[in-house]
Amino acid sequence: MFNLVQLLIKLSGFLVFLVLEAICFSLVVRYNGNQEKVYTNTVNQFTGWLQQKSTSTYQYFQLYDENKRLAKENSKLLDRLANIGVNVQNPLDTAWADTLQPKYSFLDAHIIRNSINHHHNYITLDKGSKHGVKPHSGVVTDDGVVGIVRKVSQNYSVAMSVLHRQAIINARVRNKYYFGPLVWKSDNIHTFNLENIPKDAPVTKGDTIETSGFSTMFPPGITLGVIDKMWMDPGSNFFTIEVRSFAKLSNLQHAYIVRNIFKQEQEQLEESVISEDE
């Protein structure tokens, strides 16, 4: 203790120097336009660099899990490739059409920023217009839907997470084909609501929910979750359905941006019909 005090006394000049110098620099940066610009610029560069480094370090530690996930996904894809043409889920002719002329292509992207604790959550991905990403593309992982790209810059794109109050995903009940919008109303990141399922539909608890493919953003058949609870509110013509989702949005590292090759064509056609009617 005595030694420490002695050391402090010995260093007092230096400490006072450091403190006053820190005050001076904060004054310089606060009250002088030029220096402030240099400072903000440098700090931005530095934090950008730091964030990139920390992200890459963090990714390094996640490599094991990531590898496992990729291997799993690879096997799934190989499975699908092997069984192409005899896929029971899709009618045979669409399977052929898909093989001859692919409708969707997938671009893999790293998640460099993610949030799950707000009502409006966003995800930043490290692919942008340079890589061919367009706004309103879907973002998926192997275990579900992640979000929808909202804005694209040269190197990055920002997606609205499915955990966003305004995110609507066109969903359907697997093998029963009743469809409706899947929305996020709860405060739980695993609970979603499926709406517009008529009360005469033979839908039961435990049924799997998947993307319908009606929107141009997502291919059909991506698993979204299972029906956890369902009930009928009195006076309503529709079921109230709570869906438990599988997507692990809280430790997302890697995702695929969906590109629908015929998106423009389909949308133009649909729009032309609508504008004709108006």
């Binding site: 007092s12 110098e21 005050i23 001076c24 620099f25 904060s26 002088n32 220096q35 240099v38």
Partner: protein, 173 residues
Amino acid sequence: MNNTIVTNILRFVGLVLLQGLVFKNIGVGWETFPYLHIIVFPIFILLLPLRTPKTLVIFLGFVIGLSVDFLYDTLGVHASAAVFTGFVRSLVLRMFEPRGGYNMAYSPTIARMGLGWFLQYSSILMFTHIFFYYSVEAFTFVYIVDILIKTFVSFFASMVFIMIFQLLLNQNE
């Protein structure tokens, strides 16, 4: 004792006014030659009595730098340089300590320490001060060549004025 304090207070006020009201305008007046900037106020730090504790030297450097900054409207720029000079002063003093040690009662003036000693002492401190000042003014070492040219030119000009100042006020230390 009291006499020393009064002298230093007068020197403080005089140098701040001289720097902020006279030399500031000389710099501005020579707009075509912006490399020259005469800085004399650090002589206050240089001439503080030898017995002044080093933390007090640094703090007084901060105060006079900030006062000059208020007149220059560059809050913090002169102050940071003056704080640095106050810090370096004790190191330079230790470096140039005469064999018999200092007579702590006095200020390190030409009359006490001799012209050669004072020239070395003041050149090192003034050079570091002016270099630090221009570095903070640019706030980046991208323009290091500019900073060095400005430092050299201003250093020689300032040294001339500091020597004049010393020789003029030598008698009544």
